[in-house]
């Protein structure tokens, strides 16, 4: 099944590479990985969607924790969360098709953001299902090009993030009290 994880990471060179390398090394299959800025310049946020068994999702989470630049990981699968994907779809459209396409797009709260002689670009934001439905409706016109951002997710207000990894989060120790070796 699909699991959606949020990783809060330090915004440092190579962090994306570390995360991607982890997936490759541990043989985890990612469906989508989205990285972007947060309100803080020094922190980025990743939304990771994997298609795997429960146990593997836990392993991804625990392994992410092991990366020194990863600050927090939580699981929004089956949680009250806002999950969005953005797609740009370039559709073949002459003058006669534009109105119909604009109509379809607006049913899905999408819109036309570019018009050329032979094509239009439709922008749509929403859940995966919604985007896929629109794509299917646009397919008969001829899809010339398409891009999707992959999922981004955010827990709804008033809910606590779910962390599965034992020992993660609050249990950390501070440098001053590091383990003494006798």
């Amino acid at each position: 099944m699909q699991h959606t994880l949020i990783a809060i990471v330090e915004n440092k060179p190579g962090v994306l590479n570390r995360v991607a390398s982890l997936f490759r090394r541990r043989n985890f299959n990612i469906e989508s990985l989205n990285v972007g800025h947060t309100d803080r310049k020094d922190i980025s946020r990743m939304t990771i969607v994997i298609n795997s068994e429960e146990a593997d999702a836990r392993r991804v989470e625990a392994n992410l924790y092991k990366l020194v630049n990863v600050l927090d990981v939580h699981d929004v699968t089956n949680q009250p969360a806002v999950i969005r994907d953005l797609a740009l779809i370039k559709v073949k459209a002459g003058i006669d098709q534009r109105a119909e396409i604009a109509n379809l797009a607006s049913i899905f709260r999408g819109r036309i953001v570019d018009v050329a002689a032979e094509s239009v670009i439709v922008e749509i934001t929403g859940t995966e299902d919604k985007i896929e439905s629109l794509v299917e409706l646009l397919r008969p016109f001829g899809i010339l090009e398409m891009v999707r951002t992959g999922q981004v997710a955010m827990l709804r207000g008033g809910y606590e993030p779910v962390r599965h990894t034992p020992g993660a989060g609050s249990n950390g120790f501070h440098p001053e009290e590091e383990l003494e070796v006798d």
Binding site: V9, E10, P13, G14, N17, R18, S21, R25, A55, R58, R59, A62, N63, Y65, K66, L67, V68, N69, V70, L71, T165, P166, G167, A168, N171, G172, F173, P175, E178, L179, V181, D182
Partner: protein, 570 residues
């Protein structure tokens, strides 16, 4: 005060308590080597960077302190790779410092440019690419901290040449800021109480003692637990030394070449208490049939190890020393006499089969040589090994009473570990009695470090178990490939002459009656000694759990009478 990046590096190393480093200079780290001359750090010039890596690793394993190895860019750094991987697999705290081409040349395939942080990403706990002098102090501070805390491991710092040369204000970062790095400390109280309850209810408990007990210095707490609740202890290869071999609760080594009674105890236990071990395939065999009757408690500092290979009933994530210390007050005294009676029955059968109790038949067996080394060193030596049959026999027949005395490459199984690791061990305490029990194949992989040993005047005794074979591979060919010996015979060289070429007194031993005399010679000769034991060529290590087989389906040692009759007919 303004210092060059290279000077800042040494300032920081000295502050970390570094007394010895192992390495080789080259174009991209010459400023580091030049600055080194001003600092009170002893440099050991190795002959191959793999040697430097294993030395730093051996130093770290024997002392718990962070080892340090240096190399230049490109081939210097790539030569470290095997050693880095070995340190990673066995959670050994080593800081590797490599030179890199100048920052403005990076990505342009400059002379001796290799993407070392890229190559070592999966085999380090963390790594750094440093392009400016003012990044060095913080990186070194963090690297040592990351290397030695939590689950220890290697950290690599790749320093561009311009950063070594540039001058900048030196400010030592007293505080470490690693918001994403918080090793867990101890388990929640309710889980500790639950663990104690599981121990109390168990009739056939068993402790699986791993390397974590040594790393966390928690072996005394483990011994206390075992004695208080009367629990037998099975050790992993790297857990050896966590309980004295002579302790009646100690069952010895588990796994592929573990004792039969030890593996049978695992398969029949109703509770496994796994301490700082990771259920590697070499100790579990077939996971589907592994310890089928046992509930499992797993004490482990690395959360990603929990449920990785074996799904456990109760994970206690935290530092072993803290968890065991917190657990002990809840553990009640108990007796498990029936369980021990059962184990002792299995044990009697094992003893009867054991080669060590055979009378002298005129042949030189590795097991006997190793037992003699144990006697000649009063069981007090620190032993390093290569990888192969001799390594397994060393684990079986040298009886370790103390921790940190058996230093071997477990997870990576890196041949060539023995000689350089021994030199690293020697540097932790020069009065230490250090022996290498090596294979003729493993020895040749890093034998160039004999020169380093001589140059350093290190008193290291090297005993080569020379079976003229890549013995362990030969054994697998014998058992699983119908004795087709493909590329496993080794014809030479003459190790005695080789030793002498390096200025090392050396002897060849071919008969059992020569063994004790040669060991006396080694003990009485100051400095390094090399002993070339021509042991039986086609002996096999028993028992053996074939790779992936059920842990209880071991190939047992042939019974004595069977061996005797087999010999009579051959």
């Amino acid at each position: 005060m303004k210092l060059s990046g290279a000077e800042i590096l040494w300032e920081c190393l000295v502050r970390e308590g570094v007394e010895v480093v192992f390495g080789i200079p080259g174009g991209a780290n010459m400023p580091i080597y030049d600055a080194m001359l001003k600092y009170p750090v002893h440099h050991v010039l190795v002959r191959h960077e793999q040697g430097a890596a294993h030395m730093a690793d051996g130093y770290a394993r024997a002392s718990g302190k962070v080892g340090v190895a240096l190399a230049t860019s490109g081939p210097g750094a790539t030569n470290l790779v095997t050693g880095i991987a070995a340190a990673m697999m066995d959670s050994s705290p080593v800081v590797f410092i490599t030179g890199q081409v100048a920052a403005h040349l990076i990505g342009g395939d400059a002379f001796q440019e290799t993407d070392v942080t890229g190559i070592t990403l999966p085999i380090t706990k963390h790594n750094y690419l440093i392009t400016r002098a003012d990044e060095i102090a913080r990186a070194v501070r963090e690297a040592f901290y990351i290397a030695r805390t939590g689950r220890p491991g290697p950290v690599l710092i790749d320093i561009c040449k311009n950063a070594q040369i540039e001058k900048t204000e030196f400010v030592y970062p007293e505080k470490i800021e690693l918001p994403g790095y918080k090793p867990p400390r101890t388990a929640p109280k309710k889980d500790l109480i639950k663990a104690a309850q599981m121990i109390k209810e168990s009739k056939r408990p068993l402790i699986l003692a791993g390397h974590g007990l040594l790393i966390s210095r928690a072996y005394r707490e483990m011994q206390e637990l075992a004695h208080r609740a009367h629990i037998p202890v099975a050790m992993t290869l790297l857990g050896i030394g966590s309980m004295p071999a002579s302790d009646p609760l100690n069952l010895g080594m588990m796994g592929m070449h573990g004792e039969a009674y030890c593996n049978l105890a695992i398969q029949n236990a109703d509770l496994l208490i796994a301490l700082g071990m990771r259920f590697d395939d070499r100790v579990t065999g077939n996971l589907k049939t592994y310890a089928p009757h046992a509930k499992k408690i797993h004490v482990e500092i690395d959360p990603s190890e929990v449920h990785k290979n074996v799904v456990v009933d109760l994970p206690l994530v935290g530092d072993l020393k803290a968890v065991l210390t917190d657990l002990l007050p809840y553990v009640e005294e108990a007796r498990h006499d029936e369980w021990f009676a059962q184990i002792n029955e299995w044990r009697a059968d094992t003893d009867e089969r054991d080669i060590i109790y055979w009378p002298d038949d005129g042949k030189l067996y590795t097991a006997h040589v190793i037992r003699s080394i144990w006697e000649a060193t009063n069981g007090q030596a620190t032993i390093t090994t290569g990888v192969g049959q001799h390594q397994m026999w060393a684990a079986q027949y040298y009886r370790f009473e103390e921790p940190y005395r058996f230093i071997t490459s477990g997870g990576a199984g890196a041949m060539g570990f023995g000689v350089p690791a021994a030199l690293g061990v020697w540097f932790t305490d020069k009065s230490r009695d250090v022996w290498v029990i090596d294979g003729d194949g493993s020895f040749q992989m890093t034998q160039a470090e004999l020169a380093t040993i001589v140059q350093e005047g290190a008193s290291i005794k090297i005993a080569i178990m020379n079976n003229h074979f890549l013995g362990m591979v030969r054994q697998w060919q014998e058992f699983f490939f119908e004795s087709r010996y493909s590329a496993t015979y080794l014809s030479g060289p003459d190790f005695v002459k080789l030793g002498e070429a390096y200025g090392i007194p050396a002897r060849r031993i071919t008969k059992p009656e020569e063994v004790m005399d040669a060991l006396r010679f080694a003990n009485q000769t100051p400095g390094p000694v090399l002993l070339d034991f021509w042991v039986e060529q086609e002996e096999a290590v028993y028992p053996m759990v074939p790779s992936g087989a059920d842990l209880h389906n071991m190939i047992r040692r042939p019974k004595r009478q069977q061996v005797a009759s087999a010999q009579a007919t051959s």
